[in-house]
């Protein structure tokens, strides 16, 4: 297909510039730049909206697509000047698995189509993002390039372009501060919790932030000594949660019981020392006392550790009760087994003696 397109373009270009000896593609760019290369080239739409049409060639030269020509992407432009407004660029022309153009071999567009964004676009929502809204268009760069819109440090800002309220919460959270201010590259941005191409609504059971998956999502970092351990964050929080009533209920499919986010918050997560944190000692009664949780919760809820590990000495009396019963149970088992063995031994002895008498 694409080769055919090339052919058509080449033929059309050659028919316009039959004497030209330079490669057709370059001419195409130069030809396009006749109009689009003029700074200030713009169009006022019927709505009064001004649409910038100027293309800075150096932007494209710095992008991953520097070797591409205009019509590689704007493939519906077959004659110059084009009579119709070109359609939005469809990246999947090249970006699919098995493509012959040297584009990254990936089927991520399939994931995107299933995502909340992909479905919104399909249903006709013109505000919903397509590839270039997140990855950039003429300036699209490799993910690892710090200038890329999808580089770890820029993702939040990119998502924030639409999700502005959440972005405002995120940048003040411990995660946002750690990543954006302290440049701790392990700290999560939007996509670390929500997924990248396959972002789903939080009510979808397959969503990474759905109550049935959120513990796993947070655990990815908070259960890893390599990731959070080096910042002095306890990793036992995950296992203590998993052994609590909340954790067990979640494991067996409860959607109403408290998960990580129910207590710690979502986008505005802050350490417990922070007075704004829902797990700050002063806020615990109101956090535990949420309407569907423990209405009427008082300060008693804050008296004691939240993530209790009965095997840790720091748990105080809880540790000693567990310790006492562990050894009492062990001793009991040993004593009872010993009793059974001794009893059987004595009985067999009696039995043998009786047999001898007979």
């Amino acid at each position: 297909m694409k080769n055919k397109f090339h052919l058509i373009i080449a033929i059309s270009i050659l028919s316009v510039f039959p004497l030209s000896s330079i490669a057709g593609a370059t001419i195409a760019i130069q030809k396009c730049m006749l109009c689009h290369g003029k700074p200030g080239f713009k169009k006022v739409e019927e709505t009064g909206k001004v649409k910038e049409l100027y293309v800075n060639l150096s932007t494209i030269e710095k992008s991953v697509h520097k070797k591409k020509t205009c019509t590689d992407c704007h493939a519906d432009v077959v004659e110059i000047p084009h009579k119709q407004i070109p359609q939005k660029v469809k990246c999947i022309r090249c970006h699919f698995k098995g493509n012959p153009d040297g584009a990254p071999q990936s089927d991520k567009y399939l994931e995107y189509q299933e995502s909340i964004h992909g479905r919104a676009v399909k249903s006709g929502n013109r505000k919903a993002p397509i590839c270039q809204d997140c990855h950039g268009n003429h300036d699209s760069k490799h993910t690892k390039d710090v200038l890329s819109k999808v580089h770890k440090s820029n993702v939040a800002k990119t998502c924030g372009g639409c999700h502005i309220d959440i972005y405002a919460q995120y940048i003040t959270s411990i995660h946002g501060k750690a990543l954006l201010l302290e440049h701790r590259i392990e700290a999560p941005n939007c996509t670390d919790c929500h997924g990248e191409h396959k972002i789903l609504e939080h009510t979808d059971p397959k969503s990474m932030v759905n109550p049935v998956n959120i513990v796993k999502t947070c655990s990815h970092c908070h259960n890893s000594v390599e990731i959070v351990g080096k910042y002095g964050i306890e990793t036992s929080q995950v296992s203590t949660y998993e052994h609590s009533f909340h954790g067990i209920a979640v494991k067996f499919g409860s959607k109403t019981v408290a998960n990580c986010a129910s207590c710690h918050g979502k986008h505005n997560i802050a350490p417990s020392e922070d007075p704004s944190s829902p797990v700050n000692i002063k806020n615990i009664p109101s956090t535990c006392g949420q309407p569907n949780c423990h209405p009427g919760a008082n300060i008693n809820y804050a008296k004691g550790k939240m993530h209790v590990n009965p095997k840790s000495k720091q748990s105080g009396i809880i540790y000693y009760v567990a310790f006492f019963f562990k050894y009492l149970t062990l001793l009991t088992i040993i004593a009872l087994i010993a009793h059974i063995i001794l009893d059987l031994n004595r009985r067999s002895k009696e039995w043998r003696e009786q047999k001898k008498k007979i």
């Binding site: 423990h294 008082n298 008693n300 209790v308 809880i318 059987l344």
Partner: protein
């Protein structure tokens, strides 16, 4: 003496458990087995065993409901048992016999020595020897601890409004660990004693017919045997 009526000999058998006690015993073990199965399901929720039990019990939610219904049965039984002791002569007189004394400790030492073949005389006990007493008080104490801690966990919102969180956490740990201990005590000891030990295999039938043969009584509760038969 009124006592004579309970202890009278009938075709080589002596009364061991009245119908009332047999029914109490049945209600007790049925509720305890269900409590153990539903409780252990939660205790071992991380293992295949716990997962299997929870599945059989219809999920985590219904596991809890079954557990609490059995707990109510046990609590009503306990209340009935206490009233029976306090307000009936039969209950009261039997209760007085099961109160532990120093001789019970001596008897248990004697039996240990006997099973080690260090003496040829097993302990000679009354109707309730140290084994019966230990098991009775084990269940009674266990039921008390489990009822108190269980109520605190059941009515968590109410108990949390009165007690600090660390105490509820202590109850949680206590309820699980004490439950496990009671389970081992009952299952290893009582099951062995009453079902698996060679003279009782497949079981001691007293819990169904309420009787014990004179022959067996002589071996297991010699003092009671002496008192009933007048033998020296």
């Amino acid at each position: 003496m009124k006592m004579k009526n309970h202890d009278s000999i009938n075709e080589g058998f002596v009364d061991r458990m009245s119908l009332n006690f047999r029914i109490q015993h049945m209600v007790l073990f049925l509720s305890l087995i269900i409590l153990a199965l539903t409780g252990l399901a939660l205790y071992f929720h991380g293992s295949w065993l716990g997962n299997l039990l929870i599945k059989i019990e219809g999920g985590l939610e219904s596991r809890g409901q079954i557990h609490r219904v059995s707990a109510i049965v046990l609590i009503f039984l306990s209340l009935y048992h206490i009233l029976h002791i306090l307000f009936t002569e039969h209950g009261h007189s039997e209760f007085m016999k099961i109160i532990p004394g120093v001789h019970d400790f001596r008897d248990s030492i004697q039996d240990i020595l006997y099973s080690l073949s260090l003496t040829n005389l097993p302990a000679e006990t009354e109707k309730y020897g140290y084994r019966e007493k230990f098991q009775y008080w084990g269940v009674a104490g266990g039921a008390f601890v489990m009822t108190i801690s269980g109520f605190a966990l059941w009515f968590k919102d109410a108990s949390m409004s009165i007690f600090p969180k660390w105490l509820i956490d202590t109850f949680f740990v206590l309820h699980g660990r004490a439950g496990l201990l009671i389970f081992f005590l009952l299952f290893l000891w009582h099951i062995y004693d009453m079902h698996l030990s060679p003279p009782n295999f497949p079981m001691d039938w007293s819990w169904l017919n309420g009787k014990i043969s004179l022959e067996k009584l002589k071996k297991t509760h010699y003092k009671e045997y002496q008192r009933i038969t007048g033998e020296k």
